[in-house]
Amino acid sequence: MSVPLTLLGLLERQSSHGYDLKRDYDTFFGRGKPLPFGQVYATLSRLARDGKVEISEVRPGDGPDRKRYVITDIGATEVHTWLIEPVEPEPHLQTVLFAKVVLALMLDLPAEEYLDTQRSAHLRRMRKLNEIKSGDNLVDALLADFGLFHLEADLRWIDLTVARLDALTKAVRP
């Protein structure tokens, strides 16, 4: 999963301090693997260097100064472009798709459209694998079947997620 894009997505929702970003990231996307503070601040520094976020205020704290980060137009464009683009259909992409769905719901963006686009990309890839199967090579067909079953599992997840979007929206937008 792309940590920079996910942090940008959280900032698109609202301006935040690094601490709040880490907390929200761990709550929604960490899944038992908390994001180290060092990685949060290093990522925010790179995003600021690249003009994707800005520091809107600095307040002195007990330790280092507390900086509030706000997303720029460049950063917002990058988040929206990323959300719209279907992920390359391959096994084990659920974490990226998962992050996109949750962020889209947080940002009140059309998650269902993104999932439809993803379904279409999956079906296109499955058609290509099915074409491989139409040849006479049984070994190729066996390999294509492996890919087909994994992509089909993704599609089942996509369909179930679409069916649960209303409930998911309530879960991520308190």
Binding site: D116, T117, S120, L123, R124, S134, L148, L151, E152
Partner: protein, 227 residues
């Protein structure tokens, strides 16, 4: 240029809305998959396109002519002369032999038995069912029965084949064999196919797919059509 089309179809069963403005358009010779979850209205949409159900409002067009304006008798004739059907279950007449089942559409159209049975035999051979001519449906495996149903759907040379979950009762391998035969036969004959399925592995045999959700049809982003 659409060959068969639904325009803004609305249909309710009593107080329960099944279709709420569904539109779909299929070109001649195209294979379209209609996907969607259970209860989404995908089979109802297929039944409207096939002239089995008449929508409360909206239009159904086949080759430029309004199907929804036809009488029940005219729709029945249209189905018999132009359409073929494959469903998931229970399509074969148990009292008839395999070859009689396949020849049935020809016999109902007035073809003599002497001519109809050999024509059925051609399709049985084409679908790998030679030797089963005299059996009855109870003596067939699921895959064989579905291939017989496919032969019967195609024997009269329909312009459109409607298939509703044609592999729903079959295992993966047998389902693939049926779909391979269905698609190959349709391509060979230039038959337009409208295929309802909730299974992606079946839908990928189609040229493109639309999804029905809450009674509305939408094309996927890559190949959006009038909906």
């Amino acid at each position: 240029m659409s060959f068969i089309e639904a325009r803004n179809i609305v249909l309710s069963f009593g107080a329960t809305p099944a279709l709420r403005g569904a539109s779909v358009s299929v070109a001649r010779g195209e294979i379209l998959a209609i996907m969607g979850p259970s209860g989404s209205g995908k089979s109802t949409l297929l039944h409207c396109l096939a002239g089995i159900l008449v929508p409360d409002s909206g239009e159904i067009l086949f080759d430029g002519k309004r199907v929804d304006k036809l009488s029940e008798t005219q729709r029945s004739t249209l189905r018999r002369d132009h359409f073929g059907f494959v469903f998931q279950f229970g399509q074969l007449v148990p009292e008839l032999t395999v070859e009689e089942n396949v020849a049935l559409p020809l016999l109902l159209s007035g073809t003599r038995r002497k001519q109809a049975l050999p024509e059925a035999g051609v399709w049985l051979e084409r679908l790998g069912l030679e030797g089963l001519e005299k059996r009855r449906s109870g003596e067939l495996s699921g895959g064989q029965a579905q291939r017989v149903a496919l032969a019967r759907a195609l024997v009269a040379g329909p312009e459109v084949l409607f298939a509703d979950e044609p592999t729903g009762a079959l295992d993966t391998l047998t389902g693939e064999q049926v779909m391979d035969l269905l698609v190959a036969s349709a391509r060979e004959q230039g038959t337009t196919v409208i295929l309802v399925t909730h299974e992606p592995r079946v839908a990928i045999y189609a040229d493109r797919e639309v999804t029905v959700r809450d009674g509305r049809a939408s094309a996927h982003a890559s190949d959006r059509i009038g909906s």
